[in-house]
């Protein structure tokens, strides 16, 4: 398995390195702030890692695209569905072969690599500016779609990670509210951890292992007040004192405070341990609310979201953004589709279908957001949310984070050693 993932990583690096080979000569669209629907025409392709399931496909093809065609009758959209797990391979091979989809939906942290290689159109030249976007979105979220000072993507939906507490369990242990500091987090986690007579763990006080190890570390890093990279993304900053403290706390949770054992939960678990009471607190994705609604609605009242508070506020966001290919033969049609997909109605429908967080601030008042406490919480706290990514090599190096974090949790390396070794790897990739 490790060999396979190593091969995948190596191949991924090789594929990203090959990106430049197939990129056709850049063509820039003319700046035009207002599209005339009757003048916009052409056949365009859309590559999407959302809408891939049956309900998503129905939503896109039966509801959203007919609305788009109503507005732009001379445009035809060919949709290519994929999943996030394979989006990188799909995009990279498309780019290498020169057949880049006109509109591509991709994740936070992905824009840098593809913009740097010249794959993405500068949306400023297509009439979308940073200032305009910042009127509708939180600044940090707009910046997730920028590279080198230019706008390359418009956010559609966000995936957030934050702390979640099972208040029924906390109340049994004598606590009325979620922790508001690291000290309280440790105290409550210890108080709510349950072990059987032979010492085996029955309930984790604080679960960090149902989430990808990289994302769990990043949430704790942001909570410690740390950053992933320096300001101009030329060097890693996660091995700073804050980073070491964050990873140190995670390792201590396992080895010193013993509030969770390695292997007690995993990202492959059928259900999140917060839903079935195997954990009292944890770091979770906002769609935990949707999962709980499906699996056990009675638990919803007991799920309380909280920002993990250290020196700073720990909340992480990823998400899906819409981009346009730099060599699109129909840039105006592509821009029209991008604007449509990121418009309030279409974005709201897509978010509702996946249980995600709308990026548009105005959607905070929508019924969907108001009915989903986690989404509402996420939107209310987006100003403290931070994202991953930074350098254009992010896609190459992000796979190295989980093994480094796991190495520290297993006690194979000290947090400082694990992060320093990781930083050296990352720096090599940046300098390459």
């Amino acid at each position: 398995m490790e060999v396979k993932s190593q091969i995948r990583r190596t191949a991924s690096v090789a594929m990203v390195a090959l990106l430049g080979l197939g990129i056709a000569a850049c063509t820039t669209g003319e700046a035009d702030t207002n599209l005339n629907p009757d003048e916009v025409s052409g056949e365009i392709s859309l590559l999407t890692p959302i809408f891939e399931g049956s309900p998503g496909q129905d939503l896109l093809e039966d509801e959203l695209l007919p609305q788009f065609y109503e507005e732009y009758p001379n445009v035809t959209v060919n949709v290519d569905y994929t999943t996030y797990g394979n989006l990188n391979e799909k995009l990279t091979t498309a780019v290498v072969s020169g057949l880049v989809p006109d509109v591509m939906l991709m994740g936070v942290g992905w824009i840098e690599a593809f913009a740097d290689k010249g794959v993405l159109a500068d949306l400023g030249e297509l009439g979308l500016s940073e200032d305009t976007l910042k009127e509708s979105y939180t600044a940090e979220i707009v910046e997730a779609g920028m590279w080198d000072g230019n706008v390359y993507a418009v956010p559609i939906m966000l995936d957030t990670r934050f702390g979640v507490a099972r208040m029924d369990i906390l109340k049994e242990a004598g606590y009325d509210s979620p922790p508001s500091s690291w000290e309280e987090l440790i105290e409550i986690a210890e108080a709510t951890t349950v072990r059987s007579g032979n010492g085996s763990l029955e309930r984790a006080g604080f679960d960090m292992m149902s989430l990808d190890a990289r994302q769990a570390f990043e949430t704790m890093l942001f909570s410690a007040g740390g950053e992933l990279f320096n300001e101009d993304a030329t060097a890693p900053a996660f091995n700073s004192d804050e980073g070491v403290a964050a990873l140190g706390l995670m390792a201590d949770m396992v080895n010193k405070y013993k509030v969770e054992d390695i292997g007690f939960t995993s990202t492959d678990d059928i259900v999140n341990p917060l839903i079935n009471g195997r954990a009292a607190m944890g770091i979770a994705h906002n769609n935990l609310w949707t999962q709980a609604m499906e699996a056990d609605p009675t638990v919803l009242d007991n799920l309380e979201p909280f920002v993990i508070q250290g020196e700073s506020s720990g909340m992480f966001f990823g998400g899906t953004l819409a981009t346009v290919a730099n060599n699109s033969k129909n840039p105006q049609a592509a821009r029209a589709l991008l604007e449509f997909l990121s418009s309030p109605d279409a974005a709201l429908a897509a978010n509702e279908q996946r249980g995600n967080v709308p990026a548009l601030t105005e959607l905070l008042d929508s019924d969907y957001v108001q009915s989903n406490r986690f989404v509402q919480f996420a939107m209310e706290n987006l100003d403290v949310a931070q994202r991953e990514g930074g350098p254009s090599q992010w896609l190459e190096v992000r796979g190295d984070f989980a093994p480094a974090v796991q190495g520290a949790l297993l006690g194979q390396k000290t947090p400082q050693e694990a992060l320093d070794d990781l930083a050296a790897l990352v720096q090599t990739a940046i300098d390459r």
Binding site: T10, S54, T83, G85, N86, K90, V96, I270, G277
Partner: protein, 311 residues
Amino acid sequence: MTLPTIKALAISEEITVVPRKRWFHHAKGRQAALINVALTLGSITMLVPFLWMVLTSLKSPAELAQFPPTFFPQEWMFSNYAATLDAAPFGLYFRNSFVIATTHTFITVVLGSMAGYALARIYFKGREAIFLAFIAMLMIPTYTKIVPQFLLVKFMPLFGGNDILGQGGSGWLDTWWALIIPGGLSASAIFLFRQFYLSLPKDLEEAARIDGLGEFRIFSQIYTPLIKPAIATVGLLTFQESWNNFLWPLLVTTSSDLRVIQVGLAVFQQLDNTQWQYLMAGTTMATVPMVVLFIFAQKYFIQGFTNAGIK
């Protein structure tokens, strides 16, 4: 040791001694029982994940969330299968997978056996070098071949709007050609066939030549009928690999009409949420053809591995 003790031992030996034949039968029976116990345990170990998959496919989301988990469903949700089939055009995906896997198997068995025969039984200059090249090919990881293979497919001359130099169109992308041709024959299949042909006696070939048979008839009428286990082994492995292929069909197709079963199953695995009951129902259905094929071919398949498969 005192005399009475020796006597006592002798007496007890007399009493406890078992006739050799009976002892042999007892020992053989014990050995057989132990082997049966070990095999039963092994079978259970192999069967439990399969059983878990089937049982999971019949549970409700609420039951899947329970802790401790249940083994048998409290409520048998056969409707999960209908919901799975509704989620995507699985009938179409099944058909596509079947066509691709069958074609790959046919190409591999026909051309792979010819290549294996040539490498094993026909002497020609550079034969060893070619064989070494095949061995080297076995060591190249699949992922590193994907981009060059993709480019070959995209720049295929005179297809998909391409000119004679392979420029201007999309080549074989999003066509059956891309799904069938690149995966049609593998170095490992040729290697396996070569090993099987090598294991056959040279006398047959010599007798056939004396009888006036040409090379193709020696291959098709003398040697190949003797390697049925090899054909079953290579055929089954090829079918299985082709049936389970995920990444290549995903990369070279864009239209839903050409998608295969493994790509279809991915719809149940979203970024941070997996619909286990549907995924397991789909996986159970996707497993059926492989199980059926193995049941019919297992006799030859096992022979293939035990007789001359891996030498």
